[in-house]
């Protein structure tokens, strides 16, 4: 089976002039169809930059991004737009309110990708919107509403629906649930699992919240200061982390049953271990989760 996404040796610099910093130092990442890959790392580790580079929003200095065996790093202008219109890769943003145009109705937002592709009648768009609304469990009466009238969970469903309308092969979700409360979080994660099952969707889930990955992701890739420090099946990485940074991440997850999630001595020990390994690159100052 050919990989859906194959990123190799990806280097990305951000900023202008003397403030230019390399944020990704040669990153490899593979996503198979129907696979959910968790991408974890702290703020500034380059998670979002990696996602933006995959989507062609941040031009890489070197390395390749193959989406269904097509190298997208070489695409510019018209060719890039034509590739994007195929809808192969889509992005779901962290904050569903800011990612939806407040002036446009849910219907307009859901069918935007189809309208850009062109060649569909008003009726076909109506049908498509109904289909997508069902797919992401949005009540049909919300189609005429504006984002300001929806709840947080509904907004994120609209955002996922907007991406799913063009039937992508790869969905990149940047912290898709971090702006949502716990119960809504579960329903959104279940939605992603269902889409994977029904559509064979490949998903990259960017997060710093290990808890939301545990039941969902097949594989986990740990990014630290622009390098992949660990990559493997979710079980391997979470149960037997090899890299000190991963260990720190895993042990920092609070549990309902511990009095103290991680005692300060242990945390200091792990921090020191991470520092000892110091990857002699300064922390990227430009990146962030937004």
């Amino acid at each position: 089976m050919t990989a859906l996404l194959e990123v190799s040796g990806l280097r990305v610099e951000l900023g202008h002039g003397r403030g230019r910093t390399e944020v990704l130092h040669g990153v490899d990442l593979t996503v198979e169809p129907g696979q959910i890959v968790g991408l974890i790392g702290e703020t500034g580790s380059g998670k979002t930059t990696l996602a933006r580079a995959v989507l062609g929003l941040a031009p890489p200095n070197s390395g390749t991004v193959l989406i269904e065996e097509q190298n997208t790093t070489k695409l510019r202008g018209r060719a890039l737009r034509a590739f994007r219109r195929s809808g192969a890769a889509q992005y779901v943003f962290q904050d569903p309110l800011r990612s939806l145009d407040p002036d446009r109705t849910v219907f307009d937002t859901l069918v935007e990708g189809l309208v850009v592709q062109g060649g569909r009648s008003r009726d076909e768009l109506r049908d498509a919107a109904d289909r997508v609304a069902r797919l992401v469990s949005l009540p049909a009466e919300l189609l005429s509403k504006h984002p300001g009238e929806l709840s947080g969970g509904q907004r994120q469903r609209v955002a996922i629906g907007r991406a799913m309308a063009v039937e992508p092969k790869l969905l990149i979700c940047d912290e898709p649930v971090s702006a949502l409360d716990a119960s809504t979080r579960i329903t959104i994660l279940e939605l992603l699992l269902e889409l994977r099952r029904e559509r064979g969707l490949g998903v990259i889930m960017i997060t710093h919240d290990l808890g939301s990955l545990a039941g969902v992701a097949d594989r986990v890739t740990v990014l630290y200061r622009g390098n992949v420090v660990e990559s493997g099946s979710t079980q391997e990485v979470l149960l037997a982390p090899q890299h000190p940074y991963t260990r720190l991440l895993v042990e920092s997850v609070p549990s309902l049953f511990d009095d103290e999630p991680l005692d300060s001595n242990r945390r200091g020990e792990l921090r020191d271990a991470v520092r000892a390994l110091e990857l002699d690159e300064p922390v990227a100052s430009v990146a962030g989760t937004r």
Binding site: R84, Y91, F93, R98, L100, D103, E112, Q117, G148, E149
Partner: protein, 287 residues
Amino acid sequence: MKQVASALHTRAGLIAAIVLALVLVLAVIGPYIAPFDPLKNSGAILQAPNATHWFGTDYLGRDVLSRVLAGAPLSVYTAFEAVGIGLVIGVIPGITSVYLGRTYEWITLRVMDGLIALPFLIFAIAVAALLGNAVQQAMIAVGILIAPAFYRITRAAVLSHANSQYVTASQLFGASLFRVIRTHVWSKILPTLVVATANATAAGLLIVSSLTFLGIGVVPPDPTWGGILASDLSYLSQAPYGPIFPSLLIMATVGSLNLLADAIKDTSGDHGRVRLLKRRGRRVGTA
């Protein structure tokens, strides 16, 4: 223009639209309903308003009502023409400067800075000297000089939405720049732009008059509201009511333009959404 239509549902917007419609009607039919020849002198100079001359007569004995009516088209069209020119050469670079790369951005910024630095009157006089002294040339000069204001206002408005996530999402669908601007950016900058346009049109009416005062653009004895006002001002001691009639028309036009701009601002953008939601009696999101 959805925003303009919803503005007409407010009382202020409706009043402003009615006044503006009257002014436009005046601009079209004014010269035909003037009771006297607006250019014909008579011996009856500086008369107070009376049954024959409703607005009185000016320092050459011309009927002021006729001059105000006959001056309506020139005053209104010239103001709109100048603003139209300013809009085209200000707004288009203003929007595109955000999207078309750093070189283009730098060039447009410097050109607009250059225009801002030009002294207005000297530029107007120079254009009149170069292209000939007529209304069209003067309005082109005015249009060019108000363009930087539109450029800056538009650019600032676009910048605050240029990299919104919904714009990125639209680009990820392969939308063209034109489509992104039309569907996502335009509705966000329109309220700001409408207010700026109304203010600029108001300023345009006054600029036409100040240029007439200097003998640039409209050449006497052709009447414009600004021109009538300027000539009346010299005879304040003999006819203190003189400036009232042309000023009233300028004020009504300028005032209703501002009122309309205000109504549009209130019914579109963030204000408009809050209004809409309140009217529907629903919970207002933290937009």
